[in-house]
Symmetry: C2
Subunit: 236 residues, 2 copies
């Protein structure tokens, strides 16, 4: 009988043991084979949660930068032999704003059982803490990498939000966060709701939802290089 592919979230700040539920940790303790973006961070994580096996008995396969399906199939063959495997994310939940989705799809093709485990996700936390529409929301990944069109990108999301009355959210490479905030205040309508969810689950976390008119009048938080989720909703 085939093993199962367990999808394992990791901590997004602080110590992993504090942020993972006991059921998730117990499940990881039973695994010996892992797939991860970087073996080094994966092994550090396994040590930090006190994995009972010595590291020499643990195998970590690295996801190649360019998806190589033949390679994937070879790794997943360990599952066919009856071993369980864990797909580890670098931070947060695997497959969500993170590689790993192709591996899951391949597992289904190979008739391998897939089991997701619970853990932190900055996107989920951000939608919760925004107070915006949790019945209808769209995640857009990263904005365009071209600095000069951040404003255009934001207006596009604003129009989408006006049309479907949902919450639209995105992330940015953290050193561009302040540019996003400036562009939002400059380009979005005064009534549009704009939420900043920064460094969630850390001691310095910052959560705030205001209309653009209010952001104009307020002191701006320092977001430079701090992991942040931005959310938009029509206030009209």
């Amino acid at each position: 009988m085939s093993g199962k592919l367990y999808l394992i979230p990791t901590h997004i700040s602080g110590h992993p043991g504090d942020q993972l539920p006991p059921a998730t940790v117990e499940c990881i303790y039973n695994l010996q084979f892992f797939i991860a973006e970087r073996a080094k961070t994966a092994r550090r994580f396994l040590k930090e949660i006190d994995h009972p096996l010595p590291m020499s008995e643990i195998t970590v396969f690295e996801i190649p930068k360019k998806q190589n399906y033949r390679y994937l199939e070879e790794d997943l063959n360990h599952l066919k032999k009856g071993h369980h495997m864990g797909l580890l994310s670098e931070a947060g939940s695997p497959g969500i704003a993170d590689p790993g989705a192709e591996i899951v799809r391949k597992a289904y093709e190979m008739s391998i059982g897939v089991v997701p485990l619970s853990g932190p996700s900055s996107l989920t936390l951000a939608v919760m803490a925004s107070g915006l529409n949790g019945q209808k929301f769209s995640f857009h990944g990263y904005l365009s990498p071209k600095k000069e069109i951040i404003g255009k990108d934001l207006k596009k999301l604003e129009r989408a939000a006006e049309k479907d009355r949902g919450c639209h959210f995105f992330i940015e490479t953290p050193y561009r966060n302040m540019q996003v905030l400036e562009a939002a205040v400059l380009n979005l309508k005064p009534s549009t709701l704009f939420s900043i969810q920064c460094d969630l689950l850390s001691k310095n976390s910052y959560s705030m939802t205001r209309s653009i008119a209010e952001w104009k009048k307020s002191a701006k938080p320092g977001l430079h290089k701090r992991p942040t989720v931005f959310l938009i909703q029509s206030g009209g």
Copy 2:
């Protein structure tokens, strides 16, 4: 100084202590005032996680069915007096496919700090386990309550998925799950990817992603009355 509003997820299957991270449980232990949909389930949850205070010293405010903002403000005044409060969901993460968003928005208006805590979310788990696009996804809440238009609703989501290449997902009242599956097989294109994520985190969890052409040939899982998330992506 004002207290903070903590957003508290609860378990979606099994025992809450297994599914909540230690940092979340520790935070709940320090709270004495809660807001919840139903005081009875909230109190049961607090007992199950062994809240150190006797239940007689814990206050649970119920969210009125029809949002009553004056009422909300009165409850949130406890925060103004310096008490911390916890907003508890019935299952999963508060404010996500769940009431609570209005309370969070009100807290921001009253300049009360909002702190989201990590815990299970069936929607996040479903996106992870679908293997579908985790860089671009849209949650649509419930389909139309009219049975005869489930097929139309599904085609609308399929068109949206073709247009933006993202993953589109929704939930249904659990007794209509089998109707959704039948309508999907009947109405969607053979190449469209359709994912079923059922009873996540339970021992009987079921996760599967296939094209509609493959679903046509496959035995259908029994989803009746089991909490399920459905996900669609264009396979073209």
